[in-house]
Structures are given as structure tokens and as C-alpha cells.
Subunit: 176 residues, 2 copies
DNA sequence: ACTCACATGTAAAGAGTTACATGATTTT
DNA sequence: AAAATCATGTAACTCTTTACATGTGAGT
């Protein structure tokens, strides 16, 4: 499951430009898989070379040409194989927790600031996912709902933990 | 916050060999930051070159020589600066959620298997963190406890979510 | 005047993972 | 007899991030 395959996956729900694919990533995968233009555009060209997608160039009045990508039958079966072969990895990479682990080496105020910043980030994510979750339309599949609600619930619990235990942590650091 | 800096951080709590550093990663950072020998050994050599650690070679009877690394004053201040400069990123990368998002493209049974596998992984992590959390000794700092308990709590909530909503997801997929 | 949305890409650098390579000792 | 623990490292590969490079149109 790399960016190439994810782009293919995005294209299973319809034609899209590289720009559209990026937006799809942002709107649906933001909390568990991110990709920038620097990996999406090369990925689409790679899929094109391998015949997994086709590309139609559409000239636009004053804007640059659009390249509209469409998945082929080969691409669709390739994606389905990839789904069946993929291992369900699930990994957190948190500098925030690294910093908390070493919080005895920094001023307590700095730790407090980091915690507050982290809570604000969690709240932003939560606001986004909550709105997504509320706006789930009929064409969202059960799996898509599951992925969004997973993010929503877990982010909620993370905020709760960090709010409660964060305060305790600060007071213990100040006391010491 | 890369592997080099984390190695430096590990060495703030005492001398260690590359092997020891790896073990420290496994026992303390497993749920939020992982590193293999392939990044740890080169990292330690880099720190040595930059004078942030010193190295004492200790011959052993029948085993290969040990290289015992120790942080220098320069290393210590470098690490503290790194802690102050680090951004508290916190990112999940989940192929599991990708697979759930696209679960309408695979057999319901496969989704069920993936969910079960994920639950088992969560339970393994939970068992590990729970034991860690229970065994927290007096020399664990409040920050270290925070990082472990964060993992424990969030993994617990994740398991709860996946157990409940996973079953609902499967039944919705089967119905469709 | 500035920023956001639209639109596409490349190149270089940085980071991490995996496989390879070696070998003794202890435990199962 | 096999696997786990101790112990170090390299090389190739994969992957991602960041910066660069360019430009219009609409809204504030």
C-alpha cells in the first residue's frame, strides 16, 4: 500500500486530476495517510506507464491543461489484488510522546506549552472529522464511515487523556 | 527528532551499546517510535564523529567486542536544544484504515479477517503496555508514565471501537 | 495588494526499512 | 536440532519531504 496504489484506489470512485486526487487524500485519508504533490504526480505518471490508468488532456481557456486520469480494467484488478495482499499495518509516529518521555529534561513551562499545542491540534482534527462524520452522505460506504468514525472516536479519547493526564503531568513536574 | 537524536536521548539515562539502545527503543518507544539496527548503528557512529558521544570498546571472552557509548556534555546540551526545537508531530499511518475505507471492494470475509487480525494486534500491544504500566518503578519519570499510559488508554479505546463497530461494519457489508 | 483555489510537474535531499553478512552461547 | 539472545555492521532500495518552477482568476 503505497501512494501509487492509493491513487489507483481513489480513481476507483471516478475520474480525477492529480489535483483532485490530492484533495481526496486530504478529505478522506488525512488522519491516517497523507501524500503531497511530490508523490502523487509521479505516482500517476507511473500508473499511466503501466497501463493501469488512461489520461485525457483537457485544454482550458486560461488555466493550465487538465490531465484527467481514469482507471482501466487492468488497474482495477491490480488494485483489488493489492487490497487482498496488503498487510493491515497501523503505526503511530509521535514526536509529541517522545517529548513527553523526556519532559524531565526541559522546563515544565515548555512541556505545558507542548501539551496545549497538542490539544489544539487534536481539537482541529476533531472538528474536521466531526463535521465529516455528520455530513456522511448516502454514497459513503460503511467502510468509509468506519474509517472516519475511528478517527473521530480515537481523537476524542486522546484529547480527553491529554487534558486530564497533561495537567497531572505538569503538576508533578512542577513539584519535582 | 530523528533516530540520531533519539539515540542521544536514550544515552542521557546511562551508557549503552547499540544493542542496548535497540532494546530501550523496543521497551519504551515501541508504540510511538520504532528503529532498527540499520538506523541505530549508523546513528551512533554519526554521533561519535560529531563528538556527542564517546565510545569504549570492551573485549569479551567469546562474544564480539562491545562498544559502549556514553553521552558527552556537548551531546547533552545538543539533545536539550533538540528537545526545545522539536515540533510535537503526532501522526498515524494506517494501512488498516485504508483497507477499511475500500472494504466494499473486497469480500466481506476478508474484511472480517482483517478486523480480527487488527484486534489481535491491539491486544498484544495492550498486554505489553499494561504490563509496562503496572511495573512502573520509582525511577520512571512522570513523562515516561504519561507516554506509556497514553498508549495503554488509546489502545484500549481502539480495541473497544474496532470490536463494536467492526461487527456492525461486517453485518452492513454482508447485507449489501 | 494579497491570498486562496486551480493546475502540473521536477530534482535533490533526507529518512527509514530490509536483506545481507558473521558468529558464539544459552535455552527449549 | 532449532531458536533465542548477544553483538556489530553495510548496501541497496524504497519512500517521502521540501524546495523549486510557473501561471491565471476570483475574492477580500
Amino acid at each position: 500500500m503505497d501512494v501509487k496504489q492509493l491513487c489507483l484506489g481513489v480513481l476507483t470512485s471516478g475520474e480525477a486530476t492529480g489535483y483532485d486526487v490530492k484533495r481526496y487524500f486530504e478529505e478522506n485519508f488525512e488522519h491516517f495517510f497523507r501524500a503531497g504533490y511530490g508523490s502523487i504526480y509521479p505516482a500517476l505518471n507511473n500508473l499511466l506507464e503501466r497501463g493501469l490508468v488512461t489520461c485525457t488532456e483537457q485544454c482550458q481557456d486560461r488555466l493550465p491543461d487538465k490531465k484527467i486520469y481514469k482507471i482501466t480494467e487492468l488497474g482495477r484488478s491490480e488494485f483489488e489484488s493489492a487490497l487482498l495482499a496488503a498487510k493491515p499495518q497501523h503505526k503511530l509516529r509521535s514526536h509529541f510522546l517522545v517529548l513527553m518521555h523526556f519532559s524531565h529534561l526541559i522546563p515544565a513551562q515548555h512541556t505545558a506549552d507542548l501539551i496545549e499545542e497538542h490539544i489544539m491540534q487534536l481539537e482541529a482534527t476533531l472538528a474536521f472529522l466531526h463535521q465529516k462524520s455528520q455530513a456522511l452522505s448516502g454514497d459513503a460506504t460503511p467502510g468509509m464511515k468506519f474509517a472516519i468514525q475511528y478517527g473521530e472516536q480515537l481523537t476524542m479519547h486522546a484529547r480527553e487523556f491529554v487534558e486530564n493526564e497533561g495537567e497531572r503531568l505538569i503538576s508533578e513536574l512542577v513539584a519535582a
